[in-house]
Symmetry: C2
Subunit: 195 residues, 2 copies
């Protein structure tokens, strides 16, 4: 059985959890409080969750790489050579142009006190978050999902922090196509909400 | 024939260029000066290079997604389900934990004047860059390449900005395993240096 090391509050950790649930794969969840302990760094030298432990004891890190591993040859995998590359295009977009703004704004709002100097970063994070949402809105105004007209791991990757963007003060009201897509994801078989 | 839109000075643009050269695939290079023009945004709404135009006129963005597309079913693709996921693990590591520090430090040093306020970011960027290099060093002390003992697109992704990390003031002297790996990459058939 797989073991998934994660933090319940993390959208990155929610991604593989949602895929495992939707694929009906049994797994054990281990809540991690500190990723910089010697014990955890021996599992993932980069000191991050989520981390998937396979049955043979090997480890796989990076939320979107775990999604790829879990989805291969399932209905959550994008089809075709260009479809696979397009899914990765959106998943790299998520990690480079979306998560560092949308997730970090949420983390600062939820985990720093009102007077924290980190809150000075919020206007820039929100501006860049809106840029990412604008790119998504343009795509979703034409297409129901991110790749090939079907729900896939690219949608899971982008759903994880988009659905809770308002936690970080990034309003979704200006994005009707994104809001309709969030509803379509919610309606997928096996959907579970973030813990 | 493929068209690759890029900026010669960019490690992200060097990645697909190196893969195309090593795979012996003909392509046309188009130097891009401004990625925020209406003309370019019509090609890539996220306004970034590299961007690959396929023969059918469709576009693929994100350097590591382009690498994946080009390498599929070639000797540059990692083998096996876990090998593919491990390659993606390192490629997401590159975009999230390496490039935002190593590449950005280099960009600030090369493209901002000595008194620029952006230079205040350099100590933190270099510290985080060294963290990423430390993770790579630990792996390369045990393995010749990033995945499965063979040169692959995971190596190309990490070579792009590691080989020029010193441009940003991130010294490679403390990393003998990385320096040996850089020499192994240089010795690969079809290797071309960054422009």
């Amino acid at each position: 059985m797989y073991t998934l090391y994660g933090m319940s509050d993390s959208g990155n950790c929610y991604k593989p959890q949602l895929a495992l649930e939707q694929l009906g794969i049994a797994y054990r969840w281990v809540e991690v409080r500190d990723t910089r302990t010697p014990e955890f760094l021996a599992k993932n030298a980069n000191g991050k969750v989520p981390l998937l432990e396979l049955e043979d004891g090997s480890f796989l890190a990076e939320s979107n790489a775990i999604l790829w591993y879990l989805a291969e040859d399932t209905e959550l995998a994008p089809a075709g050579r260009l479809g696979r590359a397009c899914a990765l295009q959106w998943m790299f977009f998520e990690q480079y142009s979306h998560e560092p703004y949308v997730a970090v704004a949420r983390s600062i709002v939820r985990h720093t006190p009102v007077g924290s100097p980190r809150r000075a970063e919020l206007p820039r994070l929100r501006e860049r978050g809106h840029q990412a949402l604008g790119v998504m809105e343009g795509h979703l105004a034409r297409e129901p999902y991110f790749v090939g007209g079907a729900y896939s791991i690219a949608d899971i990757a982008l759903f994880a922090y988009t659905h809770c963007a308002e936690d970080g003060g990034i309003e979704l009201a200006p994005y009707p196509a994104i809001r309709a897509w969030l509803r379509r994801v919610h309606a997928q078989p096996g959907f579970v909400p973030m813990r």
